[in-house]
Each structure stands twice: as C-alpha cells, then as structure tokens.
C-alpha cells in the first residue's frame, strides 16, 4: 500500500513516531485508565450492526484529494460527483467554505448539497450509516480526529465497510479508500457529534430515513429555489408513502413554483381525494384553480375549505 502524507484538512505529523509504537502502547493503557470513562457499549459494538449485510461497498465514488482546509469542499464534491454532477473541489469552495473560520460548517454542507439540487439527509447512528453504504449510498461524515479538548474537525466520505474485518473504508483527505478500524472510526465520528449526511439525486430516497425527514429534505429544495428537484423528491416520497399529505401538497407547491398550474391542480386534487378533511389541500386547490381561471371549481373548493373552518385566500387577495 502506498503510504501517503498524513492526510487531513491540514497536514501535520512526523513519520518517525511510527517506530515508537510498541513502547507507547503500554503508556497508552495508563493514559486510558487514567482519563477515560466508557459508559455502556462502544458504538462499534451496537447489536443492530449484526443485522446488516456482512460487507458493503459503494464503487465509483470519484476521489478528490483535498487541499489544505478544503476537506469540506472535497467531501461534498465527491458525493455530488457520485450523484451524477460534474463538479470539482474548486467549484465548491465559494459555496461551502467560510473564510473567517478557515473551514466548512455543517450547515454549509447541507445548504451546498441543496443548491446543487440534491436531497441531503442526516444519518445519526452507526447502523443507519452502514445501512446506507450497504444500499449503495456514500455517506459524508463529520469527524473529530483529535481529542474533545483539542479537536481536529474533518469531513470524509465512507465508501465501504466489512463487518468481519471490523473496518470501514473512507475517501479521506489525500487518501483514496483508506481502510480504518471500525471502532476507531466510530469513536472519531461520535466525537464529531454523530453527524453524517447522504447526498442523493432527488428521485432517490435514502434507505434509512423516515417519512418526515425526507419530506423536510424535499421541502428544503423548494426553499433553496429548486422546485423541479423538490417535485422529483415528492414523487419518490409518494412512491413509498402513497397517502402522504405533505407529499401531495409539496408536489403541488413545487409544480406551482415551476409555473405548471395543471400539475399543481392535479396534485392538490389528489391530496383532497386522499385526505378529504385536510383544509390545506382544499385551500391550495382553490387558489390555483382561481389563478388558472377555473372559477366554478375554485368556488367549490373554497366552500369545502370553509366547511372545514378555513377561509381560503384567492389570488386577488394576495399582496
């Protein structure tokens, strides 16, 4: 194996120390005994891990060796490129790098993924993280590679794991498919606050997220000004949860934002059929029908909303 430079957001570390290893092991034991408390099982011993496939790997995750301080842009670029976009680390620097912090905030990663019209969903347990990898999704992780009191924050991308060997595989810093002990990864990840995201094409849902989480991820795309991507997300959500009221409303709102009244009306109508007592569905239906010039149908929809105790605004009332 080619031995790279130490490969973090910023490079540090002499190679000499390699040789001191045996002697230091004993010292480490003393340090550990003196200053660590381990409540319960280490995260890498979570029993739910046993339910996962023995190994998982995501092939074809492009690798970008990071420049100093650019682990955030590099990690996001890798997941975006895997999702089918042509982006590089340099393209993402203005989008996710915050000069005053010489780094990338977690909110920068989320906002950045959405601005490239991708669903960004949090994953916060080790079994879920590995389940995403098993499902073929690379996972962008936030680690504290240092100590709690002396943090070294870092972004990397998990591309594989092996339960038998107890290892994970990471695109990290300047190393492609770096193999790391699962227990070590679990600790550095826990010290980063168990923060990870999957970045997916909007028509592809994560393996582990619940309905609300994916709805919020799709709605964030609406907010980020990507209604077509949001609509693709809602369509995928409705494929998995066909009666989701927010799913139908979201699909209608996204279609409306795209300027497609016909699709918006169809979605809101579907919402009223699946949830006849949902005032919001009648309200939005009435509004778009009015705008589309179908006054008779709008009056009827508005009456249904009124019967549910809600007065639906018409486009004439809008500012």
């Amino acid at each position: 194996m080619i031995r790279h430079l130490p490969n973090r957001c910023r490079t540090t570390g002499p190679a000499l120390l390699d040789r001191l290893r045996p002697g230091l092991a004993g010292l480490a034991f003393l340090v550990l005994a003196a200053c660590t408390t381990v409540p319960g099982l280490p995260p890498s011993d979570d029993p739910r891990l046993a339910e996962l496939p023995q190994a998982g790997a995501v092939e074809a995750v492009p690798f970008f060796a990071q420049a100093d301080f650019y682990c955030g842009p590099a990690a996001l670029a890798m997941t975006l490129a895997w999702s089918g976009l042509e982006v590089t680390q340099d393209d993402l620097v203005p989008v996710v790098y915050t000069p005053g912090r010489q780094g990338t905030l977690q909110s920068d990663i989320l906002a950045g993924a959405r601005r490239f019209e991708r669903l960004a969903l949090a994953v916060d347990t080790l079994p879920d993280l590995l389940a995403e990898v098993a499902a073929g999704h690379p996972v962008l992780v936030f680690q504290n590679l240092g100590l709690r009191s002396f943090p070294q924050w870092h972004y990397a991308v998990v591309t594989g794991y092996d339960r038998d060997a107890r290892t994970v595989r990471l695109h990290s810093g300047r190393s492609e498919n770096l193999t790391t002990a699962l227990s070590t990864f679990a600790r550095t990840w826990a010290r980063g606050g168990n923060w990870a995201v999957v970045v997916l094409p909007p028509d592809r849902l994560p393996a582990t997220a619940d309905e609300r989480a994916v709805l919020e991820a799709a709605s964030a795309l609406e907010r980020a000004g990507a209604p077509a991507a949001a609509a693709a997300g809602y369509t995928a959500i409705l494929g998995r949860w066909p009666t989701s009221l927010p799913g139908w409303i979201g699909l209608g709102n996204a279609a409306y934002a795209e300027g497609d009244h016909a699709r918006a009306i169809a979605a809101f109508r579907a919402a009223t059929e699946v949830h006849p007592t949902a005032a919001a569905a009648w309200q939005n239906l009435a509004f778009v029908l009015d705008e589309a010039g179908d006054t008779a149908a709008a009056v009827e929809a508005r009456a249904r909303a009124a019967a549910l105790g809600v007065e639906a605004p018409s486009p004439a009332d809008a500012p």
Partner: protein, 135 residues
Amino acid sequence: MQIFDRCRACLAQLAIALVLVTTLPMGLATAGLVSTDDVIVETFGPGEDRARVTAFLAREDVQAQFAALGVDPAEAAARVAALSDDEIAAIAGQLDQVPAGEGFLATTAIILGVILLVLVITDVAGITNVFTFIK
C-alpha cells in the same frame, strides 16, 4: 438638498420593505398557498420546537454573520435561503463557535508538541485517528 431627497426616497422604500417583510405571514414560500413546511408541521407536530418567528429574524442575523466571516454577501444569502427554520435556529448567533471542518489549529509550538505526543499515544490505542501510519 438633492442628495437629501434621494436619500428620502431610499428610506421610504426601505420602510415600505420593512413593513411588508414584518407583516407577511411567516413560512409562506408562495403567497396564498399553504407551504409544505406548514403541512409537515400540521401532520407530524412541531419539529424541534423552535419559534418560526425567531428563525425568520435569525435569517438576517445569520446572513450578516456569514458576511462578517468573509463570505460574499450574495453567497451568504443563498446559503441562508437553503436552510430550514430549525437549521437556522440551531446556528444563529453561533457561527463563530460551531465546529468547522478545518484542520489543526496550532496555538504554540510547546502545546503542539505535548498534544502531538498525546495524540500518538491515543492513536496507538485506537481512540483517535490522526496519523494514518498508525493502524
């Protein structure tokens, strides 16, 4: 006098914008439509239960903080727009404290030396993972 007049026009516009912004209903992406976020909250209950009004005001605050940290103002606005109310509330007022993936912050050479040694030790023990050559 002319300058004053021009300023007055600007101020008037600013005041109108302010009134509009502060009186608009919160969370409406499109005027007149019930937003998807509202329906999500109606369906599943409030999320992490942070006041949406606060988030609305916090957006400008966070945007200004990004700008103060050297992010281009237009870029800062785009970042803020892509975050949900909960996400904004979580970082408002803390942009200079929340962790940023950045790297090793060397304070002094002495501290660094000591820390380096500790990290090597904890690396060997598999608690940390700073040096790739230590497996």
